[in-house]
């Protein structure tokens, strides 16, 4: 009797499996086509306190992918982009990445968010999934070098080493102060700022580290005011950078010369919020050209034509540049679109013009940060930023 029941159960299970398997094909006429899609994914902060500076990255990428699909895809195949919100939360980002692995995605493209991108990188490396252009400039993404990680964000400390000498040379000598957000892992950047100031023969006036969402930033502003620096290096997200500048302005504590912004703090969300306070005294280093550059035209056209139009700004253009570079690599593969071929292709890039918005890209086995130069932008009050110069990084 027991054997009969067992056999019946087994048979029912097999029948169910067969039905489920065949049911998918039968009920979804697009299934064959869907299997041909190149599935990629992004874990990005779409909501929460950092979203104003991070959401545009995913929006810009989405608009460019939509444009590529509208133009016939890549070698006849569409790209299916899955954007998952991590709300700048590393735990949620890891959950997203696990889902991406289960979904067997072709590649994960870089969302914005230092703690989140840092958290998912080891998972993707373990699975051999390409991690293309994570928007975070921290050492664990680049060292030890992993052949699946392709970054175009230099280490924050390298950006500091490039930005401070540039400012001192361009705008004159002066003391340097660092205001940094804890979540961006600022210790190495602060050490770099101190060393760079000392090498340049200027005073290092000090540093303040605060936590995301700290309710009262006036104490920070008073620390800065007491130090009276000529330059402030702002290592924050854009929304937190806005709050810092607001607090500095309220205490008459803005620097005598310039605020030196990092890519993480430089978004139009910042100029829209505190543009009046910064005027033209915010100079920043960013990986891609800004809206005012003619090279941005294709992206802006794609943004306007998107099913959900995207506002063109520094960060949405980063997302677009990422999409352009990704598609550029796919196009070179022809019909051989495999993860191995993709990684081999990008790893072979040597001064590759992968996107008009980026400087040429080079990836080697040792150096996983491919960008050869960054763009200096200057704030134009509430009207965003303009490219004013370029500097080599790396």
């Amino acid at each position: 009797m027991r054997r009969t029941v067992l056999s019946a159960g087994l048979a029912a299970g097999l029948l169910c499996l067969a039905a489920c398997g065949s049911g998918e094909d039968a009920s979804d006429p697009e299934a064959g086509g869907a299997a041909e899609d190149i599935r990629i994914a992004v874990s990005n902060a779409m909501t929460g306190s950092a979203a104003a500076g991070t959401k545009p990255v995913a929006d810009g990428l989405t608009a460019w992918i939509e444009h590529v699909n509208d133009e016939g895809g890549v070698n006849g195949r569409n790209i299916a982009l899955n954007v998952q919100d991590d709300a700048f939360n590393a735990t949620q980002a890891v959950a997203n990445a696990r889902q991406f692995i289960t979904d067997d995605v072709f590649a994960v493209l870089g969302g914005a968010g230092t703690p989140t991108q840092l958290a998912i990188a080891p998972l993707l490396t373990d699975e051999g999934i390409p991690f293309f252009m994570p928007y975070a400039g921290v050492r664990p993404l680049l060292e030890p070098p992993q052949d699946n990680i392709f970054s175009i964000t230099p280490l924050y400390e390298d950006e500091v080493r490039a930005l401070i000498p540039y400012a001192l040379e361009k705008f004159g000598d002066g003391s340097v102060y660092v205001v940094a957000q804890r979540e961006l892992g600022p210790d190495d950047s602060i050490a770099a700022a101190k060393a760079t100031a000392e090498e340049a023969g200027v005073d290092y006036a000090g540093d303040s580290i605060f936590n995301l969402g700290a309710p009262d930033l006036s104490a920070l502003a008073l620390q800065v005011k007491a130090a009276a620096p000529d330059y402030i290096v702002l290592l924050t997200t854009a929304p937190e950078g806005s709050r810092v500048i607001q607090a500095l302005a309220a205490q008459d504590a803005l620097p005598a010369n310039k605020i030196l912004g990092m890519p993480t703090s430089t978004a139009n969300a910042l100029s829209a919020t505190v543009g009046e306070q910064i005027g033209e005294d915010y100079v920043a280093l960013i990986p891609n050209r800004p809206v005012t550059d003619p090279a941005a035209e294709d992206c802006i056209a794609a943004f306007d034509a998107a099913s959900e139009p995207v506002k063109a700004d520094v960060t949405s253009l980063y997302g677009c540049a990422m999409g352009q570079a990704f598609v550029h690599a796919l196009e070179a593969l022809g019909d051989d679109i495999t993860q191995e071929a993709f990684m081999a292709e990008v790893n072979s890039w040597d001064e590759e013009e992968a996107s008009p918005l980026l400087s040429p890209l080079t990836f080697t086995a040792e150096d996983r940060m491919g960008l050869s130069g960054m763009f200096i932008v200057t704030s134009r009050g509430t009207d965003g930023f303009e490219t004013t110069d370029t500097v080599p990084v790396g």
Binding site: I209, P215, K225, S242, R243, T273, V274
Partner: protein, 293 residues
């Protein structure tokens, strides 16, 4: 000395905000026995409504803020009538307090869906921008307004609770709700009014805070622990004490932030909270509440 004075002034101004939010929490707790964890989110939502009236509705700042005042009160009453009052007769206050955590999550989720795109936003101050500068010391007009509002609210509510019939009814309701009801006190109407009043205060806190912190759906999240700490230090049953607690929290936070680090500031504030709970659990001005078994 200048830096010290500026730090204390800044601490007092922010302490007034912690005190105000704590006041809304204590007011409701004292009146109804419910600890409202959603107070900050209600304030945030109200500030966004004011912002939308200005941005999309094209209203001048004063008109938007004036219109928002009754909206805040209505929102408080609505939350009470829809989320707190139903099936509340037979459940303890702790259960209703847990409901406020759900309300907090709900309000933030709705605000995220409706308002968060592009945040944070600059929010106009309720007073024209001006700074009183004496050497290094800068006190903004907004800081003065915060301190004034806190002081005015304290005086008005003290008069209300101890000099009016309704104030006495509230106190009776908080101490012995069942007895108060038996004596003919309209508990439902008074409780709804308390929710309306604290919604209004939360809205006030938000519009006084947003010009400095910028307007975002998380703008008051970090305020709540500080406001609760202010209430514990001052005494959960003392409307006066919560303001003193707020100023203590604000000044400790500022001084340790400026002369130490921001991590140390957080540690110092919550160390004071723990020490208060250990050695003076009723707070500086709170009264011990006895319960008949």
């Amino acid at each position: 000395v200048n830096l010290f004075l500026s730090t204390v002034a800044s601490g007092v101004a922010f302490g007034a905000l912690y005190g105000l939010l704590g006041f809304a929490i204590v007011f409701l707790f004292k009146s109804t026995g419910v600890l409202n964890f959603a107070e900050g989110s209600i304030g945030m939502f109200v500030a966004f409504v004011a912002f939308e009236l200005m941005r999309s509705g094209g209203m001048p700042t004063w008109a938007a803020l004036l219109l928002t005042v009754p909206i805040a009160a209505v929102m408080g009453v609505l939350i009470y009538e829809t989320c707190i009052r139903p099936r509340s007769e037979s459940v303890p206050h702790e259960t209703l307090t847990l409901r406020t955590i759900g309300i907090f999550v709900l309000v933030v989720a709705i605000a995220n869906e409706a308002f968060s795109e592009g945040q944070p936003f600059p929010f106009p101050a309720v007073v024209p921008e001006f700074n009183l500068s004496v050497g290094f010391l800068v006190v903004s007009g907004l800081d003065l307004v915060r301190i004034f509002v806190a002081a005015a609210l304290l005086i008005v509510t003290a008069l209300f609770f101890y000099r009016t019939r309704y104030g006495m009814l509230y106190r009776a309701m908080a101490d012995q709700p069942a007895v108060a009801q038996l004596l003919g006190v309209n508990v439902r109407a008074l409780t709804a009014a308390a929710w309306g009043a604290t919604g209004l205060i939360a809205g006030l806190v938000a519009v006084l805070t947003a010009p400095t912190t910028l307007l975002s759906t998380s703008m008051l999240d970090a305020f709540l622990p500080y406001a609760l700490t202010a209430a514990v230090i001052g005494g959960f049953t003392s409307l006066f004490g919560v303001f003193v607690g707020g100023v203590i929290v604000g000044v400790i936070n500022s001084l340790t932030g400026v002369y130490g680090t921001f991590d140390l500031a957080i540690l110092a504030v919550f160390a004071v909270l723990v020490i208060t709970l250990l050695f003076k659990p009723d707070g500086l001005f709170g009264a011990r509440v006895g319960e008949r078994l």
